[in-house]
Every structure is written in C-alpha cells, then in structure tokens.
Symmetry: C2
Subunit: 362 residues, 2 copies
C-alpha cells in the first residue's frame, strides 16, 4: 500500500497534468505555443511509449482539442500508438455522489500501484455540472494517488456531447495504454447516460453503493445494476459494518435472480472501507479473477473487438446526426414537425419523412 | 368472462383478418385488387372510425405494405385517423417462449372484453423465426379471443428491420385506436431487442415469468426486468402454486432493491393461472390502477408525448442510416475499415471519419 505523505500543496496536482487555467494562464499559453512548435507526431509517440507523463498529458490535450490542427495532430499520434495499446484492464467505476468514489479510487489505486501496477484514472462527465474548482477538489481528495508516480489522474474533458466525450475518453485510453498503464479506471457519476457509454468501453463495470437500499438508490438510473460485474458497498466501517453486511446479503439474493451475464461471470457483491482499507485488496483480486476468467473463455477479447466496431458505427452515426441536425433547413423544418407531432396533427413517421426529404432534396 | 365456445374451424381466424395466403391465394388477390379500386382514404377513414373490422384490417395491410402506392395511401389514412387515436391503454407483454403468453392473453383478454372493453392484440417479432404456421398456431391457441367480437388479433408484420416493424406497429396502434379499441396489447418474445422497442411505444410493460428463478431466466435479456411495471408469474396452479408464491416473494424483494421508476409507480409482482383464471382479474385491476395513477401525476401524457418525439427522431435516424449504409461506396469502404479496426491498424474514430468523408464527398 502506498502510504507516503504528499508534501506538496493541495493545489499542485499530478505532475504533468495541466494546472487549471486560472492559476497561471500566461505561462500555460506560452507552454502551449512552445509545444506546438517543437513536437512532431513522432516525438509525441516516442515520449508516450517511453512513459513520459508530461508528453502523454499534452497528447491527451490534443485529442481533446476542438482546434482542427490539434485534432489532426492528435489523430496522427493515436494512429502511431494504437499498435501499442490494448494491454490493460479497463475498469468502469460508477456510483452516486456521496458514495465515496474518490476515496475508493484512492484506496484501490494504492493497492494496485503498491503491487507494481501502473494506473491511469480518467473520468467521463458529459453533462458536467462540476466546476473546475470541484474537479480540483476531486484530485486533492485523491491526495496520495495524486503524488504517486505510478498513477496518472486526468480530469474529465470539458463538457461536450456524449459522443464527443466518449471519443476523447476512448482515445485517452489508447494513449495511456501505449504509455504503459496496465490498469485504466473510467470514473463516472451514476445518474445519467454516461454509464452506458462507460460500460461499452470497459472490460469490467463496478457499481459503488451505499448501505441501506432505500433513498440512497433514488439517484441511480434503472438498468445500471444489471450492467455491473460487481457491486461494492462502501463505508463498511464502524457502526456501518452491520448495515453494510445486511445490504450485501440483500443484493446478493437480488443479483441471484438476474439473468445470466453474457460473459458467464457471476456478479459479486463486496463490502469495503476506504478509511480502514478493509475489503479493498479482495476487490482488486476479484477484478483480476474476472480478467483471468474472461480471457480464459475468450469473452475478454471478443468484447474488445465488439466494442471497437461498435464505436466505429457509433461514431459514424454521430457524424450523420451532426450533419443532419446542424443543417439550417432541417432546424426550421424540425421545429414545425415537432409541434405538429405533439399536437397530434401528423404521425411521428410522416413528420420524420417530411424533414428527411427536405434534407435530401436541398 | 367470455366463455362461449367457438364453433368455427380452427383454421378460421378472427373475422376480418386476412387468411394466410396459402389458404386461398386467388380469392385474396381478387379481394386486394377490388380494394385498391374501390376505397379512397376517406372511405378507409369512415370505415375505421365506424369500427368496421375488415376495413381496419385492410388499412393495417396498407401501412405494412412495401409497395409505394399502398404505403402512400396508408399514410393518408393514418393522417386522418391520428386526431381520433390515443384514447387507449397500451400494454406491452413479453416473456420467453414457454411462459404461456398466448393463454395469458386469452385469459386477460377475456376479462377485458367481458367488462365491456375492446381489445386489439398486436405483435412485434422482428427477428421472426416463427413460420406462418405457428402464427396461425398462436391464434388457434387464442381460440376464445379469436371469436370474440370485441377482440381483434393481428399477427406480427412479416419480418423486417426493427425500425420498420416498429413503425408498422405504431401505425397499427393508431388505426386500432381510431377504430375504438381502448386496450392495445403489444406482444413480444423476451429474447431480443424488441422489448426495448415495445417498451418505448406502450404505457405499461408486463413481464411474464415462470416460477423458479434458475434456468428459466436464461432466455430473458438483462435489463428487461428493470423495464417492467409488473411481473406476473404464470402457471400458478396445481402443484405449482407453492413454487409460484415463493418466486413472487423473491422477485418482490429483488424489485424492492431496484431504483425508483420515473413514473413513481412501484412495480408489482403477481401470480396467476390462465387455466383456472386465478389472479387474472387482479392483474387487470392493477393495470387500471396504473393508468389512473399515472394519469393523475401527469406521467401518462408526458410519456406519450416523449414517445411521439422519440419515434420521430428514431425514424429520422433510420432514414439517415439507410441512406448511408445502402450507399455502394460506403459498403466497400466499410468492409476495409472494419478489417483495419479489428486488426488495430486504425482507431474506431479515424475509421469512421474516413468512411463518412467518402460518403459526403462523392
């Protein structure tokens, strides 16, 4: 377990991660210009496969950028990195705010790096209500992990379309894997559509839960529980242990009633405490068992391939939709059509046909 | 309860429903030609709102037709019917083969019509593995309902794309409602993607289950249980009653752990027997309670409107995809791209961009 104390200021986040622009905008601007002039795709690639964290971080900034030149350069770096990517366990972690996600990631991350693993923590948060300030807060909450040289924490790309954020995150995974990270966490808040997105880019999906099956569940979207390969009940310490064990038994019997998973893996329920570190090691061993199991039965690789083609088609769909919905004539026609559909003047399908014809025949 | 015996041959299905073409193809052909010559959109409309079942049935055939002239005529009829549609409770019913869906529909349908309701039974079965023979089998299994003048049973439109079948079914709902049917069943097999489709076109979703939570569940796709407003455990008669009650208790405690529904409705678990008719009335009363409850809190109407706009956008998406994937240049480029993605030569996103550019710039 990594237990060394960080002596850095809480404002200094991971080495190599850009500081929030509010801290030193001028320096950052100069740095950015500097980067653009000096690094070629080859240099980015070299830096990344040598595990150079500042260069990895810059490359992620490129793929996240909306500037066409940056985007193009980012794509070239991605193409070079792809043959070196894929060698990791990708883990999705979700749970409602208050479940203790940051502390959990800090604790599990410590277990992983202390056993020699290299961990990258990425986040998907498309409908971002989090300010820059609270992202910083997240990272300071992961104080030990932030100063761990074997860990790399990258805040969520700034809010955009779900498709856009998904692309950026999937490309960040490729870059991190090429840089030698063998465990990737994709963190998300369990309240929106982002879980489905995360689920379709990871190997293992973990749902963090609070003990007590009542109100705490309200925030979780239906369907998420059935995607989970593991439920972990957090904060199982002190007075909470009994309640957590009770919840565990309840969830176990509930999961038992769920249909079988495609992977053949039976979802597990665990209790854990990020405070006392109880149950954290077991969770990591479960994840390794899962990887071993699904690599053994071929599911791991077949799912990866399915995900890759899924994302290609998903991305095509995004382009088709952008082209359509971004069209000015469509925008006008659509407003009318929606009004007519809601007023029951026209069927959904006839309305769709009218708008589509307007699009095709212009 | 309608208990009168049907004296018709098992081959004679609902009055007004077309016979399978094998029975009397020539007569059918003549009838079709006759129809085309004689009925205008106004005549179809008049017939439908007067509850003329043969005309309703012909109109459904029009919207199901792939002939452009029929399709166009069908759309005109739909437009006329839309203002008269919507006044029904739309119920989705799913369950694996063997759960006793036909007998259940027969029993529940009897309850509904004996209480003065008018029931239309439609089916969605896109990946149709059922032969014409077994559709006929289904209808003969619903022998009482088939001869009930207040019931209208319509087999699934012949296999097509999920989107195509969805459109046909949604349009059939409109026509049936305009014809005065106040309860619509949409039946589907709980093994594919069709449940999600059905779920997005109904007000209430019922999952039929067999007692015993083991192997019987294997066929049900994960996520379906969480869509259900009610679980009904079938075949709760004779030796099976105890097992069914046990399963009921188990599912109840499992559902209790599920997150709250958007409607505010708490999903119910019931046991029933189509044989002894036990529990069937209660299920119908539950459905009415649901309608009352969701009409009271505004969810019923808001969901209908959401579904209508959802289907408009869904239909647009279908058109965009057809146009793209039907394009010969795209087909060629896509084959290459998929190979490269799977061989990890190129990222999913770059591959998508390449194919999309080929499509746009031709």
């Amino acid at each position: 377990m990594v237990e060394k104390k960080s002596f850095k200021s809480a404002l200094i986040v991971n080495p190599g991660i850009e500081q929030p622009s509010s801290i030193n905008r001028d320096a950052l601007q100069r740095q950015r210009k500097h980067r653009k002039r000096t690094l070629s795709p080859e240099q980015y690639f070299e830096g990344i496969i040598n595990g150079n964290i500042p260069i990895l971080s810059q490359a992620i900034t490129l793929v996240e950028s909306s500037l066409p030149a940056h985007h193009e350069l980012g794509q070239q770096v991605i193409e070079k990195c792809i043959p070196h990517a894929g060698n990791s366990l990708r883990i999705g972690i979700t749970g409602v705010p208050g479940v203790g996600k940051s502390s959990f990631i800090e604790a599990l991350g410590g277990t992983i790096t202390s056993r020699g693993g290299k961990l990258a923590v990425l986040a998907i948060d498309p409908s971002s209500e989090r300010s820059k300030g609270s992202i910083l807060g997240d990272k300071t909450r992961m104080e030990t992990l932030s100063s761990d040289p074997k860990a790399f924490i990258r805040p969520s790309p700034s809010a955009g379309s779900l498709g856009g954020v998904a692309r950026k995150t999937r490309e960040a995974i490729i870059l991190c894997e090429a840089a030698g990270f063998d465990t990737i966490f994709i963190e998300t808040v369990g309240v929106g559509q982002s879980e489905t997105i995360v689920h379709s880019m990871v190997d293992f999906f973990l749902l963090l839960m609070l003990a007590g099956a009542g109100d705490e569940l309200q925030g979780i979207k239906r369907g998420i529980m059935e995607m989970a390969d593991m439920l972990a009940i957090t904060k199982a310490d002190g007075d909470n242990v009994h309640k957590a064990n009770l919840a565990k038994a309840q969830y176990e019997s509930a999961l038992h009633l769920f249909p079988a998973t495609e992977s053949g893996w039976t979802p597990i329920v665990r209790t854990c405490s990020s405070l006392t570190k109880t149950g954290i090691d077991v969770i990591w061993e479960d994840m390794l068992s899962y990887m071993h199991f699904t690599k053994g039965n071929g599911y791991f690789q077949s799912r990866r391939l399915k995900q890759a083609t899924f994302w290609m088609h998903q991305s095509i769909l995004e382009s088709l939709k952008e082209d359509f919905y971004g069209n000015p004539a469509v925008k006008t026609a659509l407003k009318e059509a929606e009004k007519d559909v809601i007023a029951q003047k026209i069927s959904s399908f006839a309305a769709a046909r009218n708008v589509f014809n307007r699009y095709r025949n212009q």
